[in-house]
């Protein structure tokens, strides 16, 4: 009986617990690494403020605006703004 169990078990062993462990870890570690490299706390407020200033002069939708803070080598940080300007016509 033990021998039978042994062979049956062998067949079910396609997905081992070690395999599951690796999969789960890869997902959680990848997720936590992205959070770790997350943008600084002030960025949402900064985005809001910049948008408000821009909107005094031009029409900017949320989709046509993006902001990014990138860490380059060493101590260099680059703040990147991307604003898509629409046709004057659509402005009114």
């Amino acid at each position: 009986m033990a021998l039978l169990d042994y062979f049956l078990q062998k067949k079910e062993k396609q997905v081992t617990t070690a395999f599951k462990a690796k999969e789960r870890l890869q997902i959680i570690v990848a997720h936590e690494r992205t959070c770790r490299n997350k943008q600084p706390d002030y960025l949402p407020q900064l985005t809001e403020d910049i948008l408000n200033v821009l909107r005094k002069y031009i029409k900017v939708s949320d989709e046509s605006f993006s902001i990014n803070l990138d860490k380059k080598e060493g101590n260099l940080n680059v703040l990147e703004l991307n604003i898509e300007l629409h046709d004057e016509k659509s402005r009114d």
């Binding site: 042994y6 062993k13 070690a18 690796k22 870890l25 890869q26 959680i28 690494r33 770790r36």
Partner: protein, 269 residues
């Protein structure tokens, strides 16, 4: 230039102190001047693993507070004369350690010693941060087990962002993976993450694989670091770690389970 090496992990109980003790003795046996520092303020244990618990008079915090000199606090190992131990204090305030005063002590030690091994406390609190802050290299001790691997990854994040090297924009801390409590048999049975799995997930260079071994408990029972048990599998694995730390290329051992009996082999186990 002294090499400052932190032995860290995030998770507790994975073998940081065992590894610190083994590596300290191992490097000293190679003729280097080594100091082992216990950063686990309040939960001193390195002294016990090193077998010098009854010789502790002054500790790390005494030195910081100016109640003792470094020379008074350092305990010379009885087996290897080029090895000293700076014990953690047992009862004092954890906040005694600051970047400034720890920095001063390390600077002082760097004048005499070739290797400064910092045995980090578990967790990611102030003590652990202090242990890794000045490090040039980090030995990330990990068990092949989900929580340990995840915590090791957290610590890798800390090494990259909270260390002195990170703050000053210097060359990053050199990271080493030390996989401990490894059981090749369980890996083959699909019950344990393999070396490749862990290296894959953490993606840092592998320094050593220490097999799960009865020698480790025996070593701590008697206060004789396991590397001195030269016949044991764990002892040999730590000797390989020393060679690699010193720049040698040594093949990894104890990665496959011992040969199985004829019956299991016949039935394809």
């Amino acid at each position: 230039m002294a090499r400052i090496i932190v032995v860290t992990s995030g998770k507790g109980g994975v073998g940081k102190t065992t590894s610190s003790a083994a590596i300290g003795i191992g490097l000293a046996l190679k003729g280097h001047k080594v100091v082992l520092i216990d950063f686990d303020i309040g939960l001193r244990n390195l002294d016990l693993i090193m077998g010098c618990e009854r010789r502790v008079v002054y500790d790390f915090v005494n030195v910081i507070n100016g109640e003792a000199t470094l020379n008074q606090a350092l305990i010379k190992d009885k087996r290897v004369s080029s090895l000293s131990i700076l014990p953690a204090s047992q009862t004092r305030d954890k906040d005694a350690l600051t970047k400034e005063n720890v920095g001063k002590i390390l600077e002082e030690l760097a004048k005499t010693f070739d290797y400064i091994i910092c045995d980090s406390p578990a967790g990611i609190e102030a003590g652990a941060m202090m242990a890794l802050y000045y490090a040039d290299e980090a030995i990330v001790t990990t068990n092949p087990e989900v929580s340990s691997v995840r915590d090791s990854d957290r610590i890798l994040g800390m090494l990259a962002s909270r260390s002195r090297r990170a703050e000053l924009g210097l060359e990053p801390i050199k990271e080493h993976l030390l996989l401990t409590r490894y059981s090749p048999k369980r890996v083959e049975e699909g019950e344990m993450l393999s070396v490749e799995d862990v290296v894959d997930i953490l993606s840092i260079p592998l320094l050593g694989v220490i097999p799960e071994s009865q020698a480790v408990l025996k070593a701590s029972n008697s206060g004789e670091p396991v590397i001195l048990d030269i016949e044991s599998d764990a002892g040999k694995a730590y000797q390989d770690v020393i060679e690699r730390l010193l720049g040698e290329t040594v093949e990894f051992r104890f990665l496959v389970a011992e040969k199985k009996g004829i019956f299991t082999r016949m039935f394809g186990g």
